[in-house]
Amino acid sequence: MKQLMLGNEAVARGLYEAGCAFVSSYPGTPSTEVTEAAAKYPEMYAEWAPNEKVAMESAFGACLAGKRSFCGMKHVGLNVAADPLFTISYTGVNAGMVICVADDAGMHSSQNEQDSRHYARAAKIPMLEPSDSAEALAFTKLAYELSEQFDTPVLLKMCTRIAHSQSVIETAERVEASKPYEKNPQKYIMMPGNAKKRHPLVEARTQALVKWAETCAINRVEEGSDHSRGIITSSTAYQYVKEVCGDTYPVLKLGMIWPLPEKKIIDFAASVDEVVVVEELDSFIEAHCNALGIKVTGKALFPCIDEFSQNLVAEKLGKAAPACGSKVEDAIPPRPPVMCAGCPHRSLFYTLAKNKITALGDIGCYTLGAVAPLAALDTTICMGASVSGAHGFTKAQGGAADNKTVAVIGDSTFMHSGVTGLINIAYNESNTTVIIVDNSITGMTGHQQNPTTGFNLKGDPCTKIDLETLCRAVGIKRVRVVDPYNLKQTEEAILEELAAQEPSVIISRRPCALLKYVKHNPPVKVDADKCRSCKLCMKIGCPAISMKDGKATIDNTLCTGCSVCTQLCHFGALCEGKEA
């Protein structure tokens, strides 16, 4: 049956049809929906792991046990999982194992624009790259076949525009697949003596895969009428090329991006007058062509920054792009993402900014604490970097930073890789204060459960990791919990813990206001007569508060009645809705 399906859902469908039995991932835009969709098939076990390294190692264990397995992550997640990646390349698999990595050209929801294709070459693992949902489904199934045929994990590379676009697919039945586990120390124990014997096998495998790449159907030449130019491309760039050029030029469409074929590319280049490589982000196909001694035009024409579009490809290939439509002459104010009304993070960041505290931040909704008017963050690097960064900052500044520096990290991010940094703080004794903003969910990626929520991916109750106990267990004696909706209590706790001459953890706990079970209070009421237009309430950057005719007004459709603004107002102009 024909269906319209998101690229990520099509990967999940591919897992189902290929008989995958084990799925372990950490959420990250634009990869999250693969695992969410996979969890809806009862035939597959699916879980959120605390981080991508754990997910990949778990998936490896499952394939070793004889079940086809999967792990999914965003591009930066593959950095976290890079350690097992490079060595499971040596061991190979038992049942098939597929690793999905989703890049984010254009950085719609990411901290960098890294190109994951380099990992395939560096770890010597084949990588398939679909260009729509139908290919996402087909390539996922093919990836399992390749994995078992060539004894290797297989990378499946998605990108935002493929992951988050729906296109038409046709489904098929699930085919169960499993293998017995047999002990094989030479293959699976990667100590030097064994690994030295495995490495030549990895190199031979790549050569065998190059041969496969020469003739496989997913690396195909699409004929064109004009041989003055030939285009080599893949993924979403292929779609833009076809959109602009149709069947004008011959196109070598690469479905397997590593290892790349050699003869196929040489023959294609010989069949056209000039070769243009159209690929998003880095020079990868182009670099391969150069290594083969083929003259191509790639990054001399196309940027290595940002995602492409059909108009960009048209312009670079010298084709006419449609004229821009009419534009309103007024300056259109930007509409950046903001912390939601009722967000429990808001008052915490207000307090940090008010006290001019240096705050090393992390990855999540609370990264929005960096945005005006709160502007309360000093850094955002990667998952967990707030905690370890604050340790280094505090140590380097000696006593000077003691009363002024904190780390701010979310509950899920803390479980992902904050706890190791906290162990370092305890072990190496830095006088650091870590604030865990515990909103009882993984917020930014769209409300995924995590080890601190007490529920698993399927929504069933499970073991809940207790943050207070965990922090104490790693050696932090000062651990306290505050309600961020209570401004006074929050400020007192922060100032006291900063003043203390030992490491401390403050857990700022209040569930995300968007969670379905969170009951909202009636909207805050404004007494316009009492409002002195001081705009103090505007300093918390709440989208529900604005000034109208010089007086504070509340948008009742947005206000959740969190009452933080009522605690700010010195004149009693804002009061809780239930009081009025």
Binding site: S109, S165, S167, G325, S326, D330, P333, P334, P337, P373
Partner: protein, 190 residues
């Protein structure tokens, strides 16, 4: 046929995903090739969001570029003005007259431009400005703005009302079916 391009724009949280789901469902039953491109993740948090819907015999690119859109459905006035240059000359804009201030306007760092509907009408595009929020409230929920606007857009397509209703049935939970059908009809008549 040439590929048709529809953009659904608005503010994160206004329900553009449901609108595109509805349209995609209906177009699929018509046998078209379709691509629908959505925004997930960080930019959803109250930010400017855009969904691209493309259909025809064979659709390649998942996105719509400047000067390519046949229709733009905007859930908010400022967002309509932000995206008008994506419309073709003579393209059709269905815009909700509701104004939602972005944070730079709330903090006073920027100004919400005035008379946007009049200014857009001066351009070589067709502008249907409707108060979708009032109609949604009339249907029973302010959240039905998305369906009101899709109801209005539906007048520009040759599909039967019954086919739209079937697509609504397949896209919304039974609990909200009557509300959404009512909202759709109010938008279609507006």
């Amino acid at each position: 046929m040439q590929t048709k391009n529809i953009m659904i724009v608005g503010v994160g949280g206004q329900g553009s995903l449901l609108a595109s789901k509805l349209l995609g469902r209906l177009l699929l039953t018509k046998g078209y090739d379709i691509k629908v491109s959505e925004v997930h993740g960080m930019s959803q948090r109250g930010g400017s969001v855009v969904t691209y819907v493309r259909y025809g015999e064979k659709v390649y690119s998942p996105v719509i570029d400047k000067g390519e859109a046949d229709y733009i459905v905007s859930f908010e006035l400022l967002e309509a003005a932000r995206w008008t240059e994506y419309l073709k000359e003579g393209g059709h804009l269905v815009v909700n007259t509701q104004q939602i201030n972005p944070m730079p306007v709330i903090t006073g760092a920027a100004v919400y431009p005035d008379e946007l509907v009049a200014k857009m009408k001066e351009k070589n595009i067709v502008v249907d400005a409707i108060d979708a929020l009032s109609l949604a409230e009339q249907a029973g929920s302010a959240k039905a703005v998305n369906i009101v606007l899709m109801g209005h857009l539906s007048r520009s397509f040759g599909f039967e009302l019954e086919e739209w209703m079937k697509a609504i049935e397949a896209s919304v939970p039974p609990k909200f079916l009557e509300l959404n059908k009512k909202a759709f009809l109010l938008g279609r008549e507006a």
